[in-house]
């Protein structure tokens, strides 16, 4: 048996032993997700048990170094971990922007002290983070952001407003892009970390067309941020942000393909929704695209692992993956007919289908619009001329 096969057996046995049956049920809504943090209420004992067991082994962040709360898995081992999780339909023990976004930034740009302190908190699910990027006047043109941190010697005083801050009202801390030099557009932004309970921080949820409110407006009124709460160098926060955006796009692009196993038509066909031959044909053409994108995702991940591929490729993945997901939900709505219109009924799980359909419309907006992705691909990969 090779080392990797032995590793797989070990993981499989551990999961069999330790993953509670309730944590092998599909995630139905946001309530089923374990976000961690100071104020998190576990939905049931199994959710807490699953988190505690994984934290003890470093499995909430399997590929982070052990010193920072991870399990120190190699990429090949981490892939096995994911595959074995999928095999038994195990829920992630912990989901958070700390794991997906701040963690990778700290691993690359953080000081040793920051890594030990913040990464450990993230791995244990103690602190729930939110991301302060977009502003009302700075969406696609993020670098024009205006939130300002005034230098007061040993701290900054931050004033301004962020928007589309995911779960800001539930987060404990924020990682935030703040202008620290008004004379330099790109090299005048710093990447600051601060506590959401700091005096002067307020949040206001935004109600979306899907009826849910995962995003907030976040206001900063003379918020004091100590000088050691900066990641990377002063005025070089844009480097950190760009690195993180790459991560975010990879993450979002993954939602279009690989983790949606099987064909759409197979699901709909079982429900008898494909009697209309024209709709059936559209679904078949969609399945061609979906299965093709699954192969693309696999190739992309394989290339990332060995450092192959163009650094701007995640933009392409994000574009293709999110457009595909929107197309999928359009077809789900068509197949659902008038049942798919029901916004509030028990039979439809509280209008899950139309709410999810509307939610997908944000896929090609958040984390960089499809149009911005196409700009990046045409400039950086195709090297087409112009500004």
């Amino acid at each position: 048996m090779t080392d990797l096969e032995a590793f797989r057996q070990e993981i499989r046995a551990w999961l069999e032993e330790n993953c509670p049956p309730e944590m092998r049920e599909p995630v139905r809504d946001d309530d089923d997700v374990c976000w961690g943090g100071r104020n998190f209420t576990f939905k049931n004992a199994a959710q807490k048990l699953w988190l505690d067991r994984c934290v003890a082994k470093g499995y909430t962040v399997p590929d982070w170094p052990k010193a920072y709360g991870g399990a120190g898995m190699t990429p090949a081992e981490a892939k096995i971990w994911r595959e074995e999780m999928v095999r038994i339909n195990a829920r992630p023990p912990l989901s958070s922007f700390g794991i997906w976004m701040l963690g990778p930034a700290l691993l690359k740009f953080g000081t040793e002290e920051q890594k030990v302190h913040y990464l450990g908190q993230i791995a244990r699910g103690e602190i729930r983070w939110c991301q302060g990027y977009s502003e009302p006047g700075s969406g696609s043109d993020l670098v024009s952001l205006q939130t300002f941190g005034e230098d007061k010697g040993d701290h900054w005083v931050v004033n301004g407003q962020k928007i589309w801050t995911s779960y800001a009202n539930k987060a404990d801390w924020i990682f935030c892009l703040v202008r620290t030099d008004k004379t330099n557009k790109y090299q005048g932004i710093s990447f600051l970390l601060f506590d959401m309970t700091s005096p002067g921080v307020t949040t206001k949820p935004i109600k979306l067309i899907s009826g849910s409110s995962p995003f907030c407006e976040t206001f900063f009124d003379n918020v004091k941020v100590p000088k050691d709460q900066i990641v990377g160098q002063l005025n070089r926060g844009w480097d950190v942000a760009k690195y993180l955006l790459g991560h975010e796009r990879e993450m979002i692009s993954a939602t279009g393909g690989a983790d949606r196993a099987g064909s759409l038509g197979a699901t709909l066909g079982r429900n008898g929704a494909l009697e209309d031959p024209v709709l059936r044909a559209q679904v078949a053409l969609f399945d061609v695209d979906a299965l093709a994108f699954t192969a693309m995702s696999e190739k992309f991940m394989d290339e990332v692992k060995v450092g192959k591929g163009h650094p701007a490729f995640p933009n392409l993945m994000k574009y293709a993956g999110t457009e595909l997901n929107k197309a999928r939900h359009e077809l789900l709505m068509s197949a659902g007919g008038s049942t798919a219109l029901e916004w509030e009924s028990e039979e439809t799980d509280g209008g899950a289908l139309p709410r999810a359909w509307l939610r997908t419309k944000a896929n090609s907006i958040e984390g960089g619009t499809s149009e911005v992705m196409l700009n990046v691909v045409s400039k950086r990969i195709l090297e087409l001329p112009g500004a």
Binding site: G262, S263, G265, A266, L268, G269, R270, L274, R280, A281, V283, A284, L285, D287, V288, D289, L291, A292, F293, A295, M296, E298, K299, F300, D302, E303, K305, V306, K308, L316, Y319, A320, E371, M373, L374, N375, V377, S378, K379, I381, L382, E383, L384, P385, G386
Partner: protein, 379 residues
């Protein structure tokens, strides 16, 4: 297995890319043989060079004098054939023909494989009956006669049929036209009595035959594989051919895309390069994305087919459909973005459009294969 070329495959790609960019170029091959109204539609000298490079027998088993390579390697060659629009019997002979012969008797292999591997012989494959690819229905019949068979019927779209040393024919030896069983593959020699060719030039300058078989006497040794049990072998030949055509289409798409983006970087209107216009940039970026996805899909299907995976059949259908979709978009956008010169024979982009059209139809278009995806997925 990771989804990119391994070291050996990358080396093969390097060699083949250089070889075909030079010897297989549009000017040296496609335009040359087209303009001289070549009756074969391809050059025998280049076919001989393919043999010298070891490409003609790459899929044949080592025991049969070949290299024992797989569909990933064949795809590397086909992609470059597509990129250069090289007229070549490689797909029908070295991919489909050799796949069919892999299950032939030693006698039959001995009759054809050495010639193929040496670059002296060419094979054609006769499957379609009618204008659309519908291999589920085969009406051409071979009746038992003495120690052999008597073959009658008609086959269409037999690419390079009139130039072939042998035509591999899928015929019915029992049952009715739409039965899955009762199919037998035959290797029909060029000089067999009763074989009639109506050879026509296609839109991409290739030659294809409407072949009639009028009581063609074949002895038992012409049978490839099992009598009546040929459907599985036919499907194997089809999978190899479809995936090969898909690989060639990704090459066509890449070639068309490259000359189009080069044009966007040189053509000026309104005092600026047309590649500066966002309307064109976004379309080019979308097209690039589609081509990359098609590429990944084709490679995934090649790996699955080489591994003998049960998922190969589905992924081959996805690959042929997706490559067809991407290549079609590439040539349509290519012609449009070239503007007026895209309509001229002098510029190559129109040649890409023509080849894509022929490849799209070969062994099933994207609609046929989307239908197949639906069927294989159980809806």
């Amino acid at each position: 297995m990771p989804l990119y070329l391994n070291e050996d495959q990358a080396m093969l790609a390097d060699t083949v890319t250089g070889f075909l960019a030079d010897e297989g170029s549009i000017k040296k091959q496609l335009r040359h043989y087209r303009d001289m109204n070549c009756k074969d539609g391809f050059g025998h000298a280049l076919w001989k060079q393919f043999a010298e490079m070891g490409l003609t027998g790459m899929l044949a088993a080592e025991a049969d004098g070949g290299l024992g390579m797989g569909h990933v390697e064949a795809g590397v060659v086909l992609k470059e054939i597509g990129r250069n629009l090289t007229p070549s019997p490689f797909l029908t002979t070295s991919v489909m023909g050799v796949t069919a012969l892999s299950e032939a008797s030693a006698d039959l292999k001995g009759r054809y494989l050495p010639g193929v591997i040496a670059g002296d012989a060419v094979l054609a494959v006769a499957i379609d009956e009618g204008a659309k690819h519908r291999p589920e229905r085969i009406a051409a019949r071979a009746e038992r006669s003495g120690n052999g068979f008597r073959l009658s019927g008609r086959k269409d779209f037999v690419v390079q049929g009139a130039s072939a040393d042998a035509i591999i024919v899928a015929a019915r030896t029992s049952g009715s036209d739409s039965d899955a069983d009762g199919i037998t593959l035959f290797a029909v020699p060029r000089d067999a009595a009763g074989v009639g060719h109506n050879s026509v030039r296609l839109v991409d300058s290739a030659m294809a035959s409407h072949v009639t078989f009028d009581n063609v006497e074949l002895d038992g040794s012409a049978v490839i594989g099992e009598v009546d049990g040929g459907r599985a072998l036919l499907n194997k030949v089809l999978a190899a051919g479809r995936l090969g055509a898909a690989a060639e289409q990704t090459g066509v798409a890449s070639g068309a895309f490259d000359i189009t983006t080069a044009y966007l970087k040189t053509r000026k209107q309104f005092g600026q390069l047309i590649g500066e216009f966002q309307a064109l940039q976004h379309r080019a970026a979308h097209l690039y994305s589609e081509i990359e996805i098609a590429d990944a899909t084709v490679m995934k299907a090649q790996q699955l087919l080489d591994a003998g995976s049960e998922k190969a059949e589905l992924m081959v259908a996805v690959a042929k459909a997706k490559a067809g979709k991407a290549a079609s978009l590439a040539v349509r956008e290519g012609v449009q973005m070239h503007g007026g010169v895209g309509m001229t024979d002098e510029f190559d982009i129109g040649l890409y459009m023509k080849r894509d059209r022929a490849l799209a139809e070969f062994l099933g278009d994207q609609y046929y294969h989307a239908q197949k995806v639906a069927e294989l997925s159980g809806y």
